[in-house]
Symmetry: C2
Subunit: 380 residues, 2 copies
């Protein structure tokens, strides 16, 4: 079968402190009874994919070598970063969390056979391959007429946005704050909140980003680049009643500033007499990204009812269980052309994904820029 000699991308951290990205020949074994083979046609480069793909490699110093299709990129890794990478040294790792394509073969079970010819999205990792095997039960079947390139990003950002709302509901918050809000994820979250009528405070870092998110109908946008940031934030929190924030930045003072602003609103609203422990309103920030990988600095002033923590989609899904996960995925499939539509800066082949200029472009993680790999594009 054709897929037995396909190509796939691997990321390897070598003991000598080199990151090696390469295209390798992949030999798939035939699908088991409950498995299907998907011809991958759309798989995005998410920030979370970049973490695994580029790791701590310095792409500005990368070098490329080619032998026909066999492409190899080598980039140095700073010695200080190698310690945390020790567990992955020597293991060539497949990359690509999510993607979509067409089922071209299937095992003997009726569930698997029923998927032949269908366009499906899968979220099983290792998607930067021309063909990917998956269990029939892991395939999200898209409504008729949806093309793979419309459904390549059906999981990471859509489920993260829905997971944030679900978290807010479960923990009793009536409004949300989101940082780096002009991002692809931020745009989706903004659409979901508008659709569901959940108040959202969008924090962005430039006037350009204010425009991007306002044009999408966002009601509350504050820029951390303005000198009036702290007051603007308090004003927006007052109107929305938001007591939960999802922060993509991580490092620096932002998370603490959000808590301080929330506390100012809570103390002002309570009308209570002086309490040296602050308000009784629980204020929460979940850090889900690492745009600033420096230390998180919390200058206190937000009372005793507060929390900060990590938030990861996989942990969230494990916590809420398969029923909720299925409900969220069904919503994504139904609204894939509207609420959860993604736009891409550029679509590239697997070989182009290892082009130094292209790597330089997608490694910038620029707001609003997103690359899509179509592994079915010719590599030779």
């Amino acid at each position: 079968m054709a897929y037995q000699t396909s190509w796939g991308l691997r990321s390897l951290v070598k003991e000598d402190g080199t990151l090696e990205l390469s295209l390798v020949e992949v030999t798939l074994s035939p699908p088991k009874d409950d498995e299907v083979v998907v011809r991958v046609e759309a798989t995005p480069i998410n920030p979370s994919d970049l973490g695994l793909l580029l790791s701590a490699g310095n792409v500005a110093s990368a070098k490329v070598s080619r032998d026909g299709v066999r492409t190899t990129v080598m980039a140095p890794i700073a010695p200080a970063a190698m310690r945390a990478l020790a567990p992955r040294v020597g293991q060539p790792m497949p990359v690509g969390l999510e993607g979509a394509g067409v089922v071209v073969d299937a095992g003997s079970s009726p569930e698997a056979q029923a998927l032949i010819g269908k366009t499906v999205s899968i979220f099983v990792g290792g998607m930067y391959e021309q063909f990917r095997k998956a269990k029939a039960g892991d395939c999200l079947v898209l409504p008729a007429g949806i093309k793979p390139e419309e459904a390549g990003s059906a999981f990471v950002n859509p489920l993260t946005a829905l997971g944030m709302l679900e978290t807010a509901r479960r923990e009793g918050h009536k409004g949300l704050v989101h940082t780096a809000a002009a991002s692809n994820l931020g745009q989706i979250l903004n659409r979901v909140c508008l659709t569901d009528g959940v108040p959202l405070v969008n924090i962005v870092r430039s006037e350009e980003q204010v425009q991007i998110i306002k044009e999408l109908g966002a009601g509350h946008v504050v820029s951390s680049a303005r000198s009036s940031f702290k007051d603007d934030l308090v004003a927006a929190l007052k109107v929305t009643g938001a007591t939960l924030a999802f922060d993509a930045v991580g490092g620096g003072k932002l998370a603490g500033q959000i808590l301080v602003a929330m506390e100012a609103v809570a103390v002002g609203a309570s009308g209570e007499t002086y309490n040296m422990y602050g308000s009784t309103v629980h204020k929460q920030v979940y850090i889900y990204g690492s745009l600033d990988s420096g230390p998180i600095e919390l200058t206190r002033g937000f009372g005793m009812a507060w929390g900060i923590g990590g938030w990861l989609l996989f942990h969230f899904l494990a916590k809420v269980g398969p029923e909720i996960e299925a409900r969220l995925k069904a919503r994504v499939a139904n609204e894939i052309r509207t609420t959860f539509a993604s736009r891409y800066t550029r679509t590239i082949s697997l070989v182009e994904a290892l082009d130094l200029n292209v790597i330089s472009a997608y490694s910038r993680r620029a707001t609003g820029e997103k690359f899509l790999i179509n592994p079915s594009l010719a590599v030779e």
Copy 2:
């Protein structure tokens, strides 16, 4: 009745930036049907009481004036601290979270009448008074023979220690970490953990404190003053499986260091292949104190399954509800001479509590030092 002309202590922040501590005459109205009047004989100066009593006043520059019993201490407050104190400016505040004494009068209800002559502990604030009214239902009746000085500290530290264990159980942790572990609270927590068989890692800041807590039978003691601190901590966490810490320090890097050490143990134990998001083991630090009021600095390296938050006894009790609170209090009453026994550096009268040398001593918050006020000692 005698208690109508008693004395009480007040803490006042004045608009001109002065802290004023004073002894004032208090006129109590007669008790309502469900109220009792307690002659207060033992009320400790807890760190949390010092926060309200001294606030940001600079006691090194304090001045005292006396007019008979009427004593007034004035201390300057730094202008920068005044902003946070704005809500309490101009309000003379009673002080003293908890205490014990003898019921000397009661309202007409059977429940109140039944308490006359009984030794009770109460946790209603404003205990630095010669007489304090309280609802009969708020009185914890001590077993026969217990004296007020044995039961003055029945709530803040005992309920905090029990609340920490209850929190650990509710959130699924099998062991605890405690910082500033040689404190009065730390000693109680150590006894509770030994009694209940809960593994406890005691973090202290000096060799002297290592000795204090080891002599009390603590099994796991690590000193942050040793160069081997990080390794010692990892080793202790490995043995105990502790994934929850209660931190009295707050500012600085300690909370983050604890998370990093917990993550090292979790990654080592999992035997999993590389996961760039770290382990799936949830690691939690609750900050309940402010020995270092500077910024909390989290240098990451503990994956995505983590949380830090404020922990306050009052919030904990509100969350778990009256049944659990009653159960915990009953345990304190039963074990007040053993598990929950407190020792004091010195017992003072209300007038002595405003002596500049005494203020200087208790404001040092030295580990192992604790002052007890006996308001029934003569003030004239």
